[in-house]
Amino acid sequence: MIEQITEMFQHSFMIRAMIGGTLVSLCAALLGVSLVLKRYSMIGDGLSHVGFGALAVSTAMGASAPLEVAVPVVVIAAFLLLRISENSKIKGDAAIALISTSALAIGITVAQMSSGLNTDINSYLFGSIIAMSQRDVIFCSVLSVVILVLFVFFYNKIFAVTFDENFAKATGTKAGIFNMVIAILSALTVVVGMKMMGSMLISSLIIFPAIISMRICKRFKTVMITSAVVSIICFFVGLVISYLYGSPTGASIVIVNLCTLILFIIIERIKKVIIRK
């Protein structure tokens, strides 16, 4: 098996997938902790559907670089989705579902009418291991540097805004800007991760690691670190499984995440029983 894994890295597309995917997993996990704790997980899901719509339409219209079209559209969608979640708490989830299904429907219709459901669209929906280009890897690297710098230098503020926005605002932290920055960075992570994970599955990278680490971690700092580590390990295991057995990449990574979650729930239960005794 080790032989096969070393062989795996002789393909340049695998090295790109490895580097790009690791960086995307790291970014998604860090952003995810904040999004999940603020009850904004649906934003990640909404963004990926809008991203698919934008990619499909721009591909159909023959744009040479569909990603350049998708990025601004998804960033605008991030603004919009955040507004909806902040202002109308009651109808927010319904509004996000409306936006994401509409974007998906428009994307599929335009794509099929123009060229038929070709492999491009299929790979945008469910991801593809060979989708990571050189440019995507550079994009991922820049994005993860930005996110890491942000999370190290503004860690305390991010904690304050995530834990208690009202208090943060009242004591002079500009909570609105932080929400916006996190939404925009999520949008960028979703767009670049979507090619490999598929737009149907990318939001799992944002949500799973945060939920998994919250099972057993009691401090915010350890939640952050654990979810980054868990996310990268799950990605790596999923990628290797997908290479060895030819299973779909995105789906394999999600299934590994699911298994990890179940494992962590069991650990949590056992810990509780031991403490009671």
Binding site: F154, F159, A170, T171
Partner: protein, 236 residues
């Protein structure tokens, strides 16, 4: 000796062109314990936001004394449902109160950590310091948030319904603790509350918000006023 910390002059607030508070004037001096009472929708939360500077009044003005800097004001907001199961240690929560005096400097100093420890001790929650916030009871969580508020400011505390959801014994403890901070440490208190009886028992000033005519004055005058009489008539 006591100086005026906050003065509201003919302040009006409106929400969606519907005016909530009209022509309200009152002031809070150092060492005061003011309770803001009133029924739902009378504008208690709006006024709190106004005092905190999160919402500007549509008319009139709220003047803060130059002595009262932004890092002198501590705030205890109402808890959100998302907060109750938040994975953070008590220490992490308490020290986050120090952020307002950090400005753009990203990391906490030794002094910040000492202040967090001091306030944890002051509220008698040392034993909880390394516990997770989500594993605490409602009363313990409120104490933690109060410690955070003290880290944020030592001259004025603004408390938004601090006893909501607490059982009667813990509620009483919380009120005592707040009174102690006011009497012993001279911290001014502005507390929003539903509970008029306890407000009258502990506070020295009452602001009763009512759309038509609000009352502001000392607690003694309040009990004698027509508004107060309505609530305290059985006791007389």
């Amino acid at each position: 000796m006591s100086t005026e910390l906050i003065k509201c002059e003919n302040v009006s607030f409106s929400y969606d062109s519907l005016s909530v508070i009209r022509d309200l004037s009152f002031s809070v001096s150092s060492g005061d314990y003011l309770c803001i009472v009133g029924e739902n929708g009378s504008g208690k939360s709006t006024l709190t936001k106004g005092i905190l500077g999160l919402k500007s009044p549509t008319k009139g003005k709220i003047v803060k004394s130059p002595e009262l800097r932004s890092d002198d004001v501590g705030y205890l907001p109402q808890q959100t449902p998302a907060q109750k199961d938040f994975p953070a240690s008590v220490f992490e929560v308490v020290i986050s109160g120090r952020l307002n005096s950090r400005g753009l400097r990203p990391f906490y100093s030794k002094k910040d950590k000492m202040m967090a420890h001091d306030n944890i001790r002051r509220l008698g929650i040392e034993n909880l310091m390394y516990r997770s916030y989500r594993d605490l009871s409602g009363g313990q969580q409120q104490r933690v948030l109060l410690a955070r508020a003290l880290c944020a400011g030592k001259k004025l505390l603004i408390l938004d319904e601090p006893v909501t959801g607490l059982d009667p014994i813990v509620t009483e403890e919380m009120y005592r603790l707040i009174l102690e901070l006011n009497r012993k440490e001279g911290i001014s208190i502005i507390m929003v509350s539903h509970d008029i009886t306890s407000a009258a028992k502990y506070a020295d000033h009452i602001l009763h918000l009512n759309f038509e005519k609000s009352f502001f004055g000392t607690t003694e005058d309040y009990i004698k006023s027509p508004m107060g009489r309505y609530f305290f008539s059985e006791e007389k």
